[in-house]
Amino acid sequence: MSSTSQVQVKTTTQRIQITPARRRGPLVMAGLWVFLIISTIASIGIGQVEIEPDQIITILLDEIHVASPTITIGDFNLPADYTTVQKGTVTIIRLPRVILGLMVGAALAAAGTLIQGMFRNPLADPGLIGISGGAAFSAALMIVLGNTVFSGLSDLLNQFGIRPVPIAAFLGGIITTFLIYRLATVNGRTSVPTMLLAGIAINSLAGAGIGLLISFADDNQVRDITFWNLGSLVDVTWERVETTAPFILISILPMLFLSRQLNALLLGETEAQHLGVNVQRTKQAVVLLSALAVGASVSAAGIIGFVGLVVPHLVRLMVGPDHRYVIPGSLLLGAGLLVTADLAARNLTGGSEILLGVVTALIGAPFFLYLLLRDRQRGALI
């Protein structure tokens, strides 16, 4: 009788192992925090005006009117003396730049993680859902036609103290993403492969549009467009930090609560649904949050490539693909790497700065190729 064939459940005698993510996660997170803090301090300290870590801490504490504790470890003395030039360099020039860099890096990397999770494809990046293409095109549109066709609009925006190009980039990115999302949604279900294809089509359309605009543009405008397309943190002001911060913070905080949904989604959409995940709502959240995060980043700093693609990979190499660690890890590593890349962009050449997007691509692309070659045998990129 079949009812006699009982399943013998063997009692587990071996020591129960926890998952690699659980085992390594806390240590990796601590390491990433240390990297973030070191790269932040280095970014504030290194440049034409040198500022020591103890001076940075003293300046920051004085700024918020907190008395510095007295600590002496070798050359590190709190409170430290500093000059007004050093103080000005920190509070007016470097701090806003570094803070914006941290936010942009965190936003790009976390959005990359979400997009890769939703597409179940480690080669996806935020650009795939049209944010960067749409943003670059509308930025170019405003750069080239802002004084002629759209002069009324840009005058109006300027009156309200809104710079026309960043807002055009932000809205352009969001609108394009929404368009792609609508294109791929039929009867309330979003087809991820259709989104991918629509994204590719819209991106090349945006590229063609930018090419067209360039043929009408003068030399300065072409230069501005190039700046946008390669990203830069030159001349970041507190005002730009203040206008960008709300969008980035509002978008990255909810990302931390999508880990379980994204993990389940990696098993497949039906499987995720069977595990109790509202798949459609998760996809909406991913698209909305990444569009906001990347849109705000692009509008503040132009298109900075490779951060959204490479950072999630680096974090997965360290903790595996569990989003409960990959999302916070990407936020930390993205922030740290972006300010480090900006540090390099500022200081590698003596005179003028290299564009930030050039640095991230110069480091990111070869590294990515290395990952591809290394993982060819394993059959899967993690």
Binding site: T19, G379, I382
Partner: protein
């Protein structure tokens, strides 16, 4: 209390009907096997009953409530579905994959020791304990299938606190499996049924269905041919026209079950 599907119809368009007016009941404590040739509509029927695809007409009730009124999270605590395909391409370890089956029970917090213990029991039941630390992406097709089985087992391992029913759907669970593990998968289904889990399983092998199922439904061209216990259903009268192959039904040498032999 059971899962009841009433007059389910699924169409691609007006002329192509995948499932036509099929009704069935999945009772707790029994295995219902659905058999039929390729393209008979078995998987479509399963996906309609699990709510994965929209039906053109008909309804599905689970424990007295229409399926669509169940919250996704609540449904996932008592009902698991093992599908045929596996798209996971990220390098999770086997243990991590099986722990995902505990997801519906976590309410957003981390897995407890109990969840780990259940995951290991499920791994042991599916005989993939030794693969716990391996990357899922590096496994063979059959090993992947067994890990997915362990994942759905972990999902409905425990009786719900309110002593409610549990259900398991399996779409060709024996695919890619060797003989031992084909039987293993169905023995697990049998054991769950003995614990009052209602199981619906799609099978290709009529003899496996004969050996393990309490009731069998034969499907052909989107329609129910007959449903009944193995001895009633697995006869040349029903099998030969549907599968278009001559057969002899005899008795299994040791089990009180029919045995189907092809004479083609």
């Amino acid at each position: 209390m059971s899962i009841e599907a009433k007059d389910l119809t699924v169409k691609v368009n007006r002329n192509t009907i995948l499932v036509n007016q099929v009704s069935l009941t999945i009772h707790p404590g029994e295995i219902l096997a659905v058999v039929g040739p390729n393209g008979a509509g078995k998987s479509t029927l399963l996906r309609a009953i699990t709510g994965d695809i929209k039906v053109d007409s008909g309804s599905v009730w689970m424990d007295g409530q229409p399926l669509e009124q169940w919250k996704l999270g609540e449904r996932a605590k008592v009902r698991a579905v093992l599908s045929q395909t596996s798209v996971l391409s990220f390098a999770f370890t086997v243990l991590e994959v099986v722990l995902m089956g505990r997801g519906p029970h976590l309410n957003g917090s981390a897995e407890t020791k109990r969840d780990y213990a259940i995951a290991y029991e499920a791994l042991a039941a599916a005989e993939v304990e030794h693969l716990a630390e391996r990357y899922f992406t590096t496994l063979s097709g059959g090993e992947k299938q067994r890990v997915q089985l362990a994942r759905v087992l972990a999902q409905i391992w425990e009786t719900p606190p309110n002593n409610g029913n549990r259900y398991l759907f399996m779409d060709e669970p024996t695919n890619n499996l060797d003989l031992t593990h084909q039987h293993r998968a169905l023995q697990i289904a049998r054991q769950l049924a003995n614990q009052q889990v209602g199981v619906m399983v799609i099978l290709h092998d009529l003899n496996l269905a004969a050996q393990y199922a309490d009731r069998i439904m034969i499907m052909h061209r989107g329609e129910e041919v007959i449903t009944g216990n193995p001895c009633q259903v697995l006869t040349p009268q029903y099998i030969e026209p549907v599968f278009n192959i001559p057969i002899i039904v005899t008795q299994h040498p040791t089990l009180n079950r029919p045995l189907i032999v092809s004479t083609a």
